[in-house]
């Protein structure tokens, strides 16, 4: 006779750091659907939007305390706890020129994921397991009231920035202002701020920045690679059957790529809509601004490494990995512009 296996359904309650209307949230629901199917219904993920149970900035502590079984979030939200957190998102500048595949490579092939979990366990002392799930970029430089030609144009502007990017931009001489998310557009409408960073592409289209400002600059270096996380309470993770653990890991990686493909297409469509329907000027961020950004970030990172041993350890691990893959890629991969310009020469 077949063994009497109890086909118990496990339901995990998880909350996102974003509202249900955002495209980032689709990544979360896609993951939940995949887990449900792959497990034959044995594992269900209940997805909840930002704030449903705890405020977004309390998510890590909430998962640690098992108030939630898990969360769909972004490690850089925890830079207040320790700046090392930003490095696990890929970090400003990639970091060290890495693109998404390189950054994922560092996590999975270069020991990054072990450092990531070591960071949560030993440095932040939280009982959670982290898995990369969300490629939320490359993000745009932002929305501006007037055109900018160079770094000097940036200096007189007051911009809404948060997190690590705010720190770097402040070091570059930008006047950064913080305000709650819901007040950004009204503040923009009335000229309290001259520019703001959001996400880019379809997310910015949804937020409606085009109603206020007509200059959209891309790319940025602050989140050109930025990886969101799935975090699960450590006890909950241990209580899952080994195959369910594997299903979660696999579904995360699959969602990472499947959702990303769709998102890049959505972003491409959004750029057309912004330009044609809403008459937005989509412009290239001046190079000197991007250079200045990397310089300012390198200085901040070096200062942090000097006083934060774990930051140093992770930063050097990334640098070591990048020193192999980034220069190699320069030889192995054709320059993206090469074929792009051949088939779709930029309009004059």
């Amino acid at each position: 006779p077949p063994p009497a296996v109890a086909q118990q359904t496990v339901t995990l309650k998880m909350q996102a750091a974003w509202p249900a209307g955002w495209t980032l949230y689709d990544n979360f629901t896609m993951f939940a659907e995949r887990v449900n199917k792959l497990s034959g219904g044995r594992l269900k993920i209940e997805t909840l939007p930002a704030g449903a149970i705890v405020p977004p900035f309390e998510l890590l502590d909430a998962v640690h305390k098992k108030v939630l079984d898990g969360a769909h979030s972004w490690a850089a939200y925890w830079v207040g706890k320790n700046k090392t957190a930003v490095l696990f998102t890929g970090g400003p500048g990639g970091t060290f020129g890495m693109d998404y595949i390189d950054a994922m490579g560092w996590l999975y092939e270069g020991g990054g994921l072990d450092l990531y979990n070591e960071f949560y366990r030993d440095v932040l002392k939280v009982n959670v397991v982290a898995i990369p799930i969300l490629p939320a970029g490359p993000q745009a430089f932002g929305w501006f009231k007037r055109p900018i030609k160079n770094l000097a144009d940036l200096k007189g502007m007051k911009c809404r920035q948060t997190g690590m990017a705010a720190e770097v931009f402040t070091a570059m001489g930008m006047r950064t202002v913080n305000m709650p998310g819901g007040e950004i557009l009204p503040a923009a409408e009335r000229g309290v701020i001259d520019c703001a960073e959001w996400v880019g592409g379809v997310e910015d289209l949804k937020a409606g920045f085009y109603n206020v400002w007509k200059y959209h600059y891309t790319p940025g270096m602050h989140e050109n690679v930025t990886i969101g996380e799935l975090i699960i309470n450590g006890d909950v993770w241990k209580s899952l059957a080994p195959d369910l653990q594997e299903i979660i890991k696999t579904a995360s990686t699959e969602t990472f790529f499947r959702w990303w493909m769709r998102w890049q297409r959505q972003n491409a469509d959004a750029l057309v809509e912004l330009q044609e329907k809403h008459k937005v000027q989509i412009l290239k961020t001046p190079d000197d601004i991007l250079y200045a950004f990397l310089k300012a970030w390198d200085k901040i990172a070096a200062d942090e490494a000097a006083k934060n041993p774990f930051f140093k350890k992770v930063w050097e691990s990334q640098k070591q990995y990048a020193s192999k893959v980034v220069p190699a890629k320069r030889f192995m991969f054709p320059n993206y512009d090469f074929a792009a310009n051949f088939y779709w020469p930029p309009k004059k």
Binding site: K81, V123, K125, T162, E167, A171, V177
Partner: protein, 175 residues
């Protein structure tokens, strides 16, 4: 007129004066809140240089202000209640209802709030948590300790209120 035992009367007086003073001290937090945020606006337009600290100073003062003022508000009977039925009751009945409410509705909740918020604040202290709202990054744990301090102040004032209502329940006279 019958008076409660001296020890009880003294306890009530000491607690009430602590809460009274907590109110007199913490009520001033609204002044730097007003000045800080006004300065931010002026700095942004007149000096064309927004401050790095205004956002955090604002939420920390605001969050501390209303939390730390909760015990004073309890002393002054300022927390809204529905006196639909309550206002028609005799002092003795009010005393009974209040005394029971403090025992079963008030103390247990705040006791657990004290434990859990202490745990949260001390974790923040151990990892040296700073605020993530701006590049200023001030330490965050004193702000988190506002929670257990509020719990202690509220529990203390609750003891005083419990004694007052128990006396009213016993004698039909309010203190």
């Amino acid at each position: 007129m019958v008076q409660p035992p001296a020890a009880i009367l003294k306890t009530i007086r000491i607690i009430d004066s602590i809460s009274e003073w907590s109110g007199r001290v913490f009520c001033w937090m609204v002044i730097p809140l007003m000045l800080g945020l006004s300065y931010e606006v002026i700095a942004r337009y007149v000096f064309d240089a927004p401050t790095i600290w205004a956002y955090e100073v604002a939420f920390m003062l605001y969050g501390g202000h209303f939390m730390l003022g909760a015990a004073y508000t309890l002393l002054k009977k300022g927390h809204i209640r529905t006196d639909f039925f309550y206002e028609h009751w005799s002092p003795r009945r009010k005393g009974w209802v209040d005394a029971m409410s403090y025992l079963f509705l008030f103390f247990p909740g705040l006791f657990f709030f004290l434990l859990a918020s202490w745990d949260n604040a001390s974790h923040s202290f151990i990892i040296g948590e700073t605020s993530d709202a701006s590049p200023w990054r001030p330490i965050l744990w004193p702000f988190k300790f506002v929670m257990p301090v509020t719990a202690v102040l509220l529990i203390a004032q609750g003891v005083s209120e419990f004694l007052k209502s128990a006396w009213a329940a016993k004698t039909g006279r309010s203190l």
